[in-house]
Amino acid sequence: MSEEGIVKKFMYVNRKSPYGTIYALESLEVVLITAAFDQDVSLTFTDDGVYQLMKDQKTDGIGMKNFSSTYSALGDYEIKKIFIDKESLEERGLSVSDLQELVWEDEDEDYAEKSSINLVSRAELSNIMSQQDIVMSF
């Protein structure tokens, strides 16, 4: 084992709307923990999971913590690969402009902000998923 330790490719697949169940928040917690161990982390948002990234979430009325701003910290944890299922957006009448912008800073280019978001088809997702060492579904 090298000094850096083993780095595996982890993908987290988010498939549920936020707040109705605890899955979205739990996924986010596990994602941040994995990133803290310097693993290669990517996130997929598909099915109702695309609602997790909606802009303008206001949770005062339901008395729950609004965790949507946490997604914008993913870039600071070196999480740069966020895949959004195009077809799931379309089925819901949504476009990428309804979602938060997520960026990371490229050290090699004077910390230029680059988008972490990749709009992909299900066929492309299938391909990306098959290249992972570990896929966890929430």
């Binding site: 609602y51 005062d60 009448g93």
Partner: protein, 102 residues
Amino acid sequence: MSMLHTVNKSPFENSTVTSCISMCAKDSSILFIEDAVISVMKSTKFTEMIESSLKDFKMYALKPDLEARGLSLNNVIEGVEIVGYEDFVDLTTEHDSVQSWL
């Protein structure tokens, strides 16, 4: 007998919304809460089903649940009434019974 149906699951997640609509008696009301508020948004693959059911049932959606999910009130299907928790209480008292779909 008027009945208030409440549904709390996304129509994309399971068939509860679809079942509820198909089993609802006329002059019933349906209140969409929690993840079910997704049902009343325009331009989804369920929009047509909801719009055509509006002639048979009154439909309501809980505002705090729409707001929490970042769903714009302007994108709610016309004819669906947006209500608050106090209206929820009123609805339960105005109907003879309540069926909570799980």
